[in-house]
C-alpha cells in the first residue's frame, strides 16, 4: 500500500483543490464575493491560492532523486 501513498495523496489534494472552487462559490450569503485586498475571495482562491497550492503539491508528491521505491 505504501507504494502509491504519496502520489495518490498528491492527486487527491489536487482534486480537492479543484473541488474547493465550486464549494466556495456555493457558500451562503455570497461569502465568496467578499473582497479582501481588492479581490473577491473566490478570485483569490481560484486565481491565486489554488494554483500555487497545486504547484506546491506537485513538487512535494514527486519523489526526490534519493527516494527509494517505497516512497513512490
Amino acid at each position: 500500500m505504501q507504494m502509491v501513498t504519496n502520489r495518490t495523496n498528491g492527486v487527491l489534494v489536487l482534486l480537492l483543490l479543484l473541488a474547493g472552487f465550486p464549494l466556495l462559490s456555493a457558500l451562503p450569503n455570497q461569502l465568496a464575493a467578499v473582497r479582501v485586498a481588492g479581490l473577491s475571495l473566490l478570485w483569490w482562491y481560484g486565481g491565486v491560492a489554488a494554483p500555487v497550492a497545486a504547484w506546491l503539491t506537485a513538487v512535494i508528491w514527486v519523489p526526490g532523486p534519493g527516494s527509494g521505491p517505497g516512497r513512490q
Binding site: P22, S25, W43, A50, A54, A58, P69
Partner: protein
C-alpha cells in the same frame, strides 16, 4: 519527451492560453474555473500516469507503441495545430489583414521547422520569447493605467456598466459585423442607433411587446437604424456597422460586480468539462510515456502553468479595462491580441509592443508545434522519434489543417474536441494498463471509447443547440465505456491466472 518545456509546449498552446484569457473575460468565475482546471489537470495527469502498475496486471510495455495509439495521437496533434492555425487566421482578420495570410504564415513556419532536426533546442528560447513578448506589454499597460493587477481587477469589478469608449473602432470607423463571432447573441439592453458607413443589409430580430419580427433593412451608406432594448442583430448581416459611444456593449455583463460574481452555476456542465480536460491531459501527456517524471520537471511544469495562468488573468483584466467593447457578442480569443486601447492610446510604443505581442504568439505557436511533434515522436521508441520529423507526413498534416482553417471554427471548441477524442481513445489504457496476456485489450477499449465519443459528437452536431451535457462533452461517457472494456479484460486475465 519528459522535459518541462516540452510538456508546457504541448499543453499551453497559444489557443489554450488565449482561450483561457477569453474565457475568464467572457464568464468571470466560469472562465477562472476552466483556467484552474487547465493548471491542475496536467499535474494530476503527471501524477496519476506515473503510478506503478497494479501487481496483478503486469502491463504490456512493447518496444513499439500500438499503431492505434500513434494514429490517435497524430490526429489529436493535428486538431490542436488546427485550432492554433485557425486562431492565427482570426488574429490576422481582426487586425485587418486577409485571413489566409495568418494561416499561410503559421502553417508554413510550422512545417519548415520539421526540416530542422535540432529544433528541439530552441524550445526554451521560444517559450521565453513568448513569455517576454506578453509580459512587456502587460507591464506597460499597468504603468499606463496606474494600477497593478489587483487594482485593475478591482476597477473592472467595480464598473457600473461596460460602455463603448469613444476611441473604439466599433465607434470610429466601424467593423464588419461578422467579426463579432462570440457565443453570446448581440442583444441590446438600451436604445441604440447603429450606422452602416458603407451601407449593406442588416438583419435583426425585433421585439415589440409580445410580437417578435425578423426584419431586413437595406441601408444606404451612412444610414442609421435605431434598435430598442431586447432587439437582436443577426451576425449573418454582411455590412460594416458603427455603434454609439457611451452606450452599453451588447452581450456584456450588466456591471463589473455581475462579471466578478459570474453566472448561476451549471456545475454538471463544468464537471463534465473538467473530466474532459483531466482525461485529455492523461491521454496527451502520459500515453506511451514510460517512467515517472522528476521533481525538477514537476516543479518547472507547475511553475510554468501557474505563471501562464496568472498572465492570462492579468491580460484579460487589462484588456477589458482598456476596451470594454471586447464583450460585444461574447469574447473571442483573437480580440485579445490587440493591445489594450486605453493603456496605449496615442502611445509611441503601441506599434513596437503590438509587434512584440504578435511575435510572442508566433514564438508560442512554433514552440507548441515542435513540442507536439516531439510528443508524437516519443511514441516511436524504436525509430528514434522519426515520425516527428517526417517531412512528407507533416506537409500533409499542415496542408490539410491550413485548408481546413479557412473556415472559421471556435479554436477553444476544437481544443476541447481534441482533448475529448484523445481521452476517449487513450486515457483508459493509461490509467489501467491492459494485462500482458491481453495486450490488444487497450486498443479494443480505445476503439469502444472512440466509437462512443464519435457517436455522441455526431449526435451533438445533428442536435446543435440542444445544450445536453453529455452531447457537449462526450468524453464523460466514452472514457467510462473504454474503461469498462479494460475492466472486463483484466478480470478475465485474473481468472485465467487463477485457473492456471
Amino acid at each position: 519527451m519528459t522535459s518541462a518545456v516540452g510538456l508546457l509546449g504541448v499543453w499551453l498552446t497559444p489557443a489554450v492560453w488565449l482561450g483561457m484569457s477569453a474565457l475568464i473575460l467572457d464568464g468571470g468565475p466560469d472562465g477562472l474555473w476552466v483556467g484552474l482546471a487547465l493548471v491542475c489537470a496536467p499535474l494530476v495527469a503527471l501524477g496519476m500516469g506515473s503510478r506503478p502498475p497494479a501487481p496483478l496486471a503486469e502491463p504490456a510495455r512493447p518496444d513499439r507503441e500500438p499503431l492505434f495509439n500513434v494514429v490517435i495521437l497524430l490526429v489529436t496533434v493535428g486538431v490542436l495545430l488546427w485550432a492554433n492555425i485557425i486562431l492565427a487566421g482570426d488574429v490576422a482578420a481582426w487586425l485587418g489583414a486577409p485571413r489566409w495570410q495568418g494561416i499561410a504564415l503559421t502553417a508554413a513556419a510550422g512545417w519548415l521547422l520539421t526540416a530542422w532536426r535540432g529544433c528541439r533546442r530552441i524550445l526554451t528560447p521560444l517559450l521565453l520569447l513568448a513569455l517576454i513578448g506578453v509580459s512587456v506589454p502587460l507591464v506597460q499597460a499597468a504603468r499606463a493605467v496606474g494600477a497593478g493587477p489587483l487594482g485593475a481587477w478591482e476597477r473592472v469589478a467595480s464598473e457600473p456598466a461596460f460602455r463603448f469608449p469613444a476611441a473604439s473602432r466599433w465607434v470610429t470607423a466601424g467593423r464588419d459585423l461578422r467579426m463579432a463571432r462570440g457565443r453570446t447573441p448581440i442583444t441590446f439592453d438600451e436604445e441604440h442607433r447603429i450606422t452602416a458607413p458603407k451601407g449593406g443589409t442588416l438583419r435583426a430580430r425585433t421585439v415589440d411587446g409580445n410580437r417578435i419580427a425578423d426584419i431586413e433593412w437595406a441601408l444606404t451608406p451612412g444610414q442609421s437604424v435605431t434598435l430598442r432594448p431586447g432587439d437582436q442583430v443577426e451576425r449573418t448581416s454582411v455590412l460594416r456597422i458603427r455603434f454609439e459611444a457611451g452606450k452599453r456593449v451588447p452581450g456584456a455583463p450588466q456591471t463589473g460586480i455581475a462579471w466578478a460574481a459570474g453566472r448561476a452555476g451549471d456545475w454538471a456542465r463544468r464537471a463534465a468539462l473538467l473530466f474532459t480536460i483531466l482525461a485529455g491531459a492523461l491521454a496527451l501527456l502520459r500515453s506511451g510515456m514510460a517512467g515517472p517524471i522528476s521533481r525538477g520537471v514537476a516543479a518547472a511544469v507547475g511553475g510554468g502553468l501557474v505563471v501562464g495562468f496568472l498572465l492570462a488573468q492579468a491580460w484579460a483584466v487589462y484588456s477589458v479595462l482598456g476596451a470594454p467593447d471586447l464583450f460585444l457578442g461574447g469574447v473571442t480569443p483573437e480580440r485579445l491580441v490587440e493591445l489594450p486601447g486605453l493603456a496605449f492610446a496615442g502611445s509611441p510604443w503601441r506599434r513596437p509592443l503590438q509587434a512584440a505581442l504578435l511575435g510572442a504568439g508566433l514564438a508560442g505557436y512554433l514552440a507548441s508545434s515542435v513540442a507536439l511533434r516531439e510528443r508524437l515522436g516519443a511514441l516511436d521508441r524504436t525509430g528514434g522519434g522519426e515520425i516527428g520529423y517526417d517531412l512528407g507526413l507533416w506537409a500533409g498534416v499542415f496542408g490539410v489543417v491550413a485548408a481546413a482553417s479557412l473556415w472559421p471554427v471556435d479554436p477553444w471548441r476544437l481544443t476541447v474536441l481534441a482533448l475529448g477524442g484523445a481521452a476517449a481513445a487513450l486515457s483508459p489504457a493509461v490509467l489501467w494498463p491492459p494485462p500482458s496476456e491481453r495486450p490488444a485489450a487497450g486498443t479494443v477499449a480505445g476503439l469502444v471509447g472512440l466509437a462512443v465519443f464519435a457517436a455522441l459528437a455526431v449526435a451533438a452536431g445533428l442536435r446543435a443547440g440542444s445544450g445536453e451535457i453529455l452531447l457537449a462533452y462526450p468524453a464523460a461517457v466514452a472514457v467510462p465505456a473504454g474503461a469498462a472494456v479494460l475492466w472486463v479484460a483484466r478480470r478475465g486475465a485474473r481468472r485465467a491466472k487463477a485457473v492456471e
